[in-house]
Amino acid sequence: MDDGARSQPNAADTDCEWSEMKIVALVKYVPDAKGDRGFLDDGTVDREGADGLLSELDEYAIEQSLQIKDEVDDAEVIALTVGPDDAADAIKRSLQMGADGGVHVNDESVHGSDAVATSAILAAAVRKIGADLVVCGMSSTDGGMGVVPAMVAERLDWPALTFGSEVGVNGQAVTIRRDSDVTSQTVEAELPAVVSVTDQSGEARYPSMKGILAAKKKPVDEWTLADLDLAGVPVGLDAALTTVTQTTERPPKQAGQIVTDEDGSGAQALADFLSAGKYL
């Protein structure tokens, strides 16, 4: 991957040599929800103690990026992650699914960055790559807040189309469907834009054997913060405006009463429970 090409901002509309559409999918490496998740003494998430993987919700971001690539004539999908050494696995999986290349921002001083700082790093990397469209997951599976996509858009000064259950690109415009409890909305913006997609957007593909082999030859750039222009935003644990003061594991729940239903004993137990708890 040629760095010169990457640093062309919005290459698509400025230079025909890089006329393709650059789609950057933001993918995060997270501790596996099925394992033991916990915290380090400094209040940050323990990313070494637990097995990690590509956040399952970011698979939907890769999937939609690949589908958009298929619709658009000439497009390329780059998976971008900010995280420690192990986060390379998130890129690997993205490449196996079909992304064309990856960028891994890996720097000691990123440790402990909050969402405000992470968004600055991601935005700086997106700028350097020269993306036309950024596709994110709806939230990180490790206590994510679903706010990073909006914050990246804020930093880039791009429109944000978030929580899309459907996404489509049409010429220079991107459209999503966004469902809330009370409405189903269609939202549209011109590129460049940031999009986030929900797990309603369509099953993410599983890497094929061919995909797994092809991934080995795909280019991955490793960047440190020195490679990025953070526009003066401080990052890392010390810069965070929020400080974790305490982390407490919930005590295991007291074993409850178990009733095996026989001749209505289950319903009776439920009715008794409802009466005793004053739920009636």
Binding site: A115, A160, L270
Partner: protein, 318 residues
Amino acid sequence: MTNVLVITDHIAGEVTKPTLEVLTIAAGFGDPIAVAFGAGAELTATRLAVYGATKNLTVTDEAVDSALVAPKVEAVAQLIEQTGAALVLAPATLELNEVAGRLAVRINAGLITNAVGVTGGEGSVSTEQSVFAGDWTVTASVGGQPAVVTVKPNSVAAQAAPADGTVEAAQVTISEGAKRARITKSEPKAASGRPELTEARIVVSGGNGTKGDFSAVEGLADVLGAAVGASRVAVDSGWYPHSYQVGQTGKTVSPQLYIAAGISGAIQHRAGMQTSKNIVVINSDEEAPIFAIADLGIVGDLHEVLPQATDKVKQIKG
């Protein structure tokens, strides 16, 4: 006294319960000033005043209804300047979380989303969050001036505290740039007539074990005045709409009582209900992991237990 900006969540003027809870939290820090956006904003004032809003600012620029998130961020940023607010609080809805996030970037504020508790006073704000599927509680102090915090439903009990609550049209300008994510179509969804999932005192949820027949779940919910929830498998199978999904990618609920029928208890489901005060489980497989978090576990067929329990409740209620 300190000014606290409270961003109102409302549907066509009807204020949501979590907004009132946030007003109650705000009153502990200073004078709550409510901000309401869009169509129906003026209608929120009476209710907000009952719960302590000293002032109601309305932002009715058409952009707040025709574009996503960004116009609201611009408006709040300007209102912080005008009011000198030391704290911005909002109910943790998807959109208001985004407003909070962008705002924090814009004004370089400390940010906490999805708090389940907010404490402190002049100059100090401390929050509690429930993370990793409710397995951990994280306490944090929020710096920055102002601090921006969004709060989950049911974190406190809303308390009436009548205040003046004069209504005022806010003086804000929305830039063209903020209008770029245009809402080009908005279709209303049909209401279920049952209590709102995140606000209900009791939730009865059904999963794969219903085999697509939710009548037993709905039957019990209706005699209890409860909301109905569903697991992702039930939603993905098309048995119930997505807006009823409980869990990581659905709603987080924290009712007094959660009844899970035919749900195995995957971590992603537990993430949305584990902090419920009481949990009752009906599952035919005694090995189902969800029994581990049950106060009452019934090993049995939901299609038998639920209708029988519904009849018993009807009898008790007479």
